[in-house]
């Protein structure tokens, strides 16, 4: 009997760790996710905004789908307790205040997901002007979260 409680606790800890990973692992995963996002946003920016003559619908659709997939992957689960302090690929820039602002951050995450899904939809139409506008909305949702929870360099 006596062993049950500690055992349950231990199993819970192991299960949680397996689900969301250790602190460093969470930071590394989320840094990788944002880095991968930037490859895709960079492609859209280049082909839709900076060099429209290079517009390639297949690449834009692929990039928009990748962004939507990352957005829908549950990034918010990589912001576990203690992940404001720690080194993933590099030192995390998460503000410690994040943990008091989780509700707000969740709302911003939901906006990001909504705008990213919309971008994937718009990309499928191949309408460059509409993609540009919707891409701007995705970027604004990125920024709103940066402004809220990211430490300035």
């Amino acid at each position: 009997m006596k062993i049950k409680l500690p055992l349950t606790l231990a199993l819970t800890v192991v299960a949680t760790a397996a689900f969301s990973g250790q602190v460093e692992e969470q930071i590394r995963f989320r840094q990788s996710a944002y880095s991968y996002l930037s490859w895709n946003t960079g492609k859209i920016k280049s082909q839709v905004v900076d060099h429209p003559e290079t517009f390639n619908k297949d690449q834009i659709v692929a990039a928009a789908n990748a962004i939507a997939a990352v957005a829908n992957s549950g990034l918010i689960n990589l912001y576990g307790t203690g992940t404001d302090q720690g080194i993933g690929w590099k030192q995390s820039r998460l503000r410690p205040e994040f943990f008091q602002k989780q509700d707000e951050a969740k709302e911003l995450d939901a906006t990001f997901i909504k705008e990213a899904n919309e971008l994937a939809k718009v990309a499928a139409t191949g309408d460059a002007a509409a993609i540009k506008t919707q891409f701007g909305k995705v970027g604004a949702s990125c920024k709103s979260c940066h402004d809220l929870i990211r430490i300035r360099e």
Binding site: G139, A140, E153
Partner: protein, 235 residues
């Protein structure tokens, strides 16, 4: 006995109000982000041109536009605080404000040229520096904005103070160029030399345009040595 004289030449006034409009636009587009971020960059290029123009005009403009005429030296500041300063252009405290505002705006513009937002914006000179240095400069850009907000609050507070306490309207002269001054100080500025204005305008817009297009990158050899210095400082 007061008389009306010209104190601010028209290029100076044009500069001032264009700068006001550009700073408001830069602030708004910067806060909105998204699609407006590219406009933020373009407005930054406009501000760069305006600042270069103001620096040139500080040497070739009319009387009170020149830095030498109003530079807030220690002696001038002491004299002003003692009540011994008599002039009609920028008073020494106002001159401090001018220098501070120009310095902070220049910091914003220069850091912005190298900045990135980790979303979809890179300044026109981003490729000249490492990503990590660009990140630092982007942070400095945000910090300089905080300083600018404080300076602008002081600027507006000083205008309100002169209006309400000293019964001295500073806004109308910046619009019309004209001010009522004691007869003893009455001397109007000379008319604007059109060639000087054109020269300053052409030089500043050419430089700003060139830098904005990254075309100046080839001439910016010192940037790489700045970067080495920054790395040595542990930045």
């Amino acid at each position: 006995m007061k008389v009306t004289v010209h104190i601010w030449d028209w290029p100076l006034r044009l500069f001032h109000w264009l700068l006001v409009a550009a700073v408001v636009a830069a602030y708004t587009t910067g806060k909105l982000g998204g699609e407006f971020t590219d406009w933020h960059g373009r407005i930054g290029a406009l501000i760069l041109g305006l600042l270069i123009f103001r620096i040139l005009w500080g040497f070739v403009g009319t009387t009170h536009a020149r830095f030498a005429s109003f530079f807030p030296t220690f002696g001038r500041l002491i004299a002003y605080l003692k009540g011994d300063w008599h002039g009609v252009g920028h008073n020494p405290i106002g001159a401090l404000s001018v220098i501070a505002l120009l310095t902070v705006l220049a910091t914003l513009v220069v850091t912005g040229l190298f900045a990135n937002d980790d979303i979809a914006f890179e300044g026109p000179l981003f490729s000249l520096v490492d990503k990590s240095l660009s990140d630092k400069l982007s942070g400095l850009h945000a910090l300089a904005l905080d300083v600018l907000m404080v300076l602008l609050a002081l600027h507006l507070a000083a205008i309100a103070f002169h209006r309400l306490v000293k019964k001295n309207n500073l806004v109308i002269p910046m619009l019309t160029g004209k001010k009522q001054v004691p007869k003893a100080l009455a001397s109007s500025i000379p008319s604007v030399g059109l060639l000087r204005f054109l020269g300053a305008a052409v030089i500043s817009s050419t430089l700003a345009w060139g830098i904005w297009n990254g075309g100046a990158a080839d001439y910016f050899i010192p940037v790489s040595s700045l970067q080495t210095a920054a790395l040595k400082l542990g930045w």
